[in-house]
């Protein structure tokens, strides 16, 4: 009985905060747009029979008829994948340096990585607008250095979106890689060198494979939220940056087409389920390897 209660708590949580909202969204995606409150039909007040009779997959069919949607999905996948790769390239050396730093420095360095979370995410993205704009700090600095003659256009481009995503999700990449590298036994590297590896070979043949789990975990932690990212592309990106999160927001709030927006969300969720399942499998395998 006690065990049942213990398990029931997380299940109740999932039911209330994930499954029920999903069922509602899914239902809306099967509805038709209506000029009413709520802005879709049918609703349960119409009676059970007519209610189910009115549901159909029309909105999903509509999504295939317009290039915008699939292009937005593909573009989101590409932006998420490229940002994940950049985050990995930036994050790995940072995590490596942290793991190699003297013991007494590590808590401080860890703190510095987490510190940005103390400020609201939204405010930090707005701050980037101030840095990246035509008259922003970055352009002024580069002009002052004499590196450029004219201010660069960074804000409202895809580049700004990449900068925003990489900046925001960098800690999610650093922390799991750091955790993996921190556990790495230094004598393994010495053993590799002793057996004829150069420093670089030892890194490639021992350090990288042994931090693989951290790399995989970090990549998923960046890729999954980046795929559905809405705030960064809408604040830093321009009209040329097509991301599904932004399309979704526009369907909801500009077009007020809740059924189509819900269909977009359901598809996005289905796309996200794949990397989430892969991520869970990775975590599970890691846990098994440690026992």
């Amino acid at each position: 009985m006690q065990r049942f209660i213990l398990i029931a708590v997380p299940y109740a949580w999932l039911l209330a905060l994930f499954l029920i909202p999903f069922v509602i969204v899914f239902k809306i995606s099967l509805s038709d747009i209506a000029l009413s409150i709520p802005p879709y039909a049918p609703i349960l007040d119409d009676g059970i029979g007519p209610f189910f009779a009115a549901l159909d997959f029309e909105n999903f069919v509509f999504l295939t008829s317009d290039d915008l949607y699939w292009k937005a999905y593909v573009s989101s996948l590409r932006i998420a994948a490229i940002s994940t790769a950049i985050t990995l390239l930036v994050g790995y050396p940072i995590a490596y340096a942290m793991a190699r730093a003297p013991e007494e420095w590590r808590p401080t360095l860890m703190m510095l990585v987490i510190l940005p979370f103390w400020t609201s995410f939204l405010i930090r993205v707005y701050a980037w607008m101030g840095i990246l704009s035509q008259e922003g700090f970055l352009n002024q600095f580069l002009l002052w250095l004499g590196v450029i003659g004219e201010p660069l256009t960074i804000l409202n481009t895809t580049t700004a979106v990449y900068i925003g995503i990489v900046y925001t999700y960098l800690p999610f990449m650093i922390l799991p890689i750091f955790a993996a590298l921190d556990r790495l036994d230094g004598s393994l590297i010495e053993a590799a060198e002793d057996l004829g590896c150069s420093r670089l070979q030892a890194f490639w043949l021992v350090t990288i494979p042994l931090s693989k789990n951290g790399i995989v975990a970090g990549s998923f932690l960046v890729f999954i939220p980046a795929l559905g990212e809405f705030v960064i592309p809408s604040l830093l990106g321009g009209s040329g940056t097509l991301m599904i999160g932004k399309v979704l927001w526009e369907e909801f709030f500009n077009n007020r087409d809740w059924p189509v927006a819900s269909a977009v969300a359901v598809i996005l969720l289905l796309i996200l389920v794949i990397p989430i399942v892969l991520f869970q499998r990775n975590q599970q395998r890691q846990a098994e390897a440690e026992t």
């Binding site: 036994d185 004598s187 393994l188 010495e190 053993a191 590799a192 060198e193 002793d194 057996l195 004829g196 590896c197 150069s198 070979q201 043949l205 021992v206 494979p209 042994l210 693989k212 390897a289």
Partner: protein, 375 residues
């Protein structure tokens, strides 16, 4: 057929494989190795023995190339190796933690070093198989390190470090993680493998029994200095200092003043109320020089009557008895308060033991049983 004794250190024509020449290693203020000079010969099984922090691991790490001496030179086959990085040395090391690569199978671990040399695949296969056979690991080739036992892991580490047929194999506390039984068996296995491969082994250990069992020569170290380098028998029977005598095995130390007696013997005046002890010594001591008699408990006899022909005998009472199964150590307190340990083999059942607590007894030994030490 005469069997030649393996003793290259006594042969002045023999060239040592490793020469430490005035090697000093400092870590900031701390001196880990202090002006060390030492020769190690080919095919030797050389043990570095000492308490933790005595510098033995630092010496080994300098041989492997992970540390460089602050001053002095280390030569391997006549070449200064200070500038040679670890991956270019014909030296391999077996790590205390074994340092097996957890992501590679036993086979891949052993092949790791060979692959770095870009050997042909067939040659690697043959060599790995040979190593697996040598360490009796054929059945475990496909397993990952976490799927085998501690003893097997230890053998994988040994096989991996031997695979490249190094000139010199370094073993850092190789048996530290094994339990007593397995450890003994492995010690003999190590000696066997060393003999088969003809590799020079340098082993670091803090376990004196292990050093005595496996090594052809033992270097006893303390605070960055080598106190004595000799064969296990010499270290045990003829230690050159109280430190070495005390570090290796159990010993009674009786301090006093020396007085020359007949040729080759000295009297040790150790207490005013008692007759001096007689001890033979090759070293000369001046009249009245402070010295110490080191005598092993198993060389001290214990009896209820004063033995007639013993050169040294003194009375005391049994203070404590340590029963070790095969042996018993009696702690005998003399009238001066000095406690001497005497060890006897338990050839009879315990119920028939001759002495018990508080019994007055005589302890005795011959003039040649102990060693007279100046320091």
């Amino acid at each position: 057929m005469t069997q030649t004794v393996f003793a290259p250190w006594d042969d002045p024509n023999e060239k040592p494989l490793i020469r430490f020449r005035g090697v000093t290693k400092r870590f900031g203020e701390f001196t880990a190795i202090d002006d060390l000079t030492l020769d190690i010969f080919e095919r030797e099984f050389f043990a570095l023995l000492g308490p933790s922090g005595c510098g033995k691991t630092t010496m080994m790490r300098m041989l492997a190339g992970f540390e460089t001496p602050t001053s002095g030179t280390i030569e391997l086959s006549g070449q200064d190796i200070a500038a040679v990085p670890p991956n270019k040395r014909a030296v391999n090391m077996m790590f205390q933690s074994y340092a097996l690569f957890p992501h590679l199978s036993v086979y891949e671990n052993i092949a790791f070093g060979l692959r770095r040399d870009k050997l042909p695949k067939a040659e690697i296969d043959a060599r790995v198989l040979e190593m697996l056979k040598l360490t009796r690991l054929e059945k475990f080739a496909r397993r990952k390190p976490h799927q085998i036992s501690g003893g097997q892991r230890q053998r994988v580490a040994l096989a991996r470090s031997l695979a490249k047929a190094p000139k010199l194999l370094l073993l850092d506390e190789p048996l530290g993680a094994l339990d007593a039984k397995l450890r003994q068996a492995t010690q003999f296995e190590l000696m066997d493998i060393q003999e088969k491969t003809g590799t020079t082994f340098v082993i670091v250990t803090h376990d004196q029994e292990e050093a005595m069992t496996v090594a052809s020569r033992v270097a006893v170290m303390d605070e960055g200095r080598v106190m004595q380098v000799a064969t296990p028998e010499k270290i045990y029977e003829a230690p050159n200092s109280v430190y070495v005598a005390d570090f290796i095995g159990d010993v009674n130390i009786i301090s006093g003043k020396a007085r020359p007696a007949e040729t080759g013997t000295f009297q040790l005046h150790w207490a005013d109320a008692h007759a001096p002890f007689v001890a033979a010594s090759d070293h000369a001591f001046s009249d009245g020089q402070a010295c110490h008699l080191a005598i092993r408990p198993e060389k001290v006899a214990i009896s209820s009557e004063r033995p007639a022909e013993a050169e040294n005998a003194v009375q005391g009472k049994v203070l404590d008895i340590a029963y070790l199964g095969n042996l018993s150590t009696y702690h005998v307190e003399l009238s001066t308060g000095l406690i001497l340990k005497a060890q006897t083999a338990n050839t009879r059942r315990i119920s028939r033991r001759s002495f018990t607590w508080e019994d007055p007894v005589w302890v005795s030994w011959t003039a040649t049983a102990g060693v007279l030490l100046g320091q």
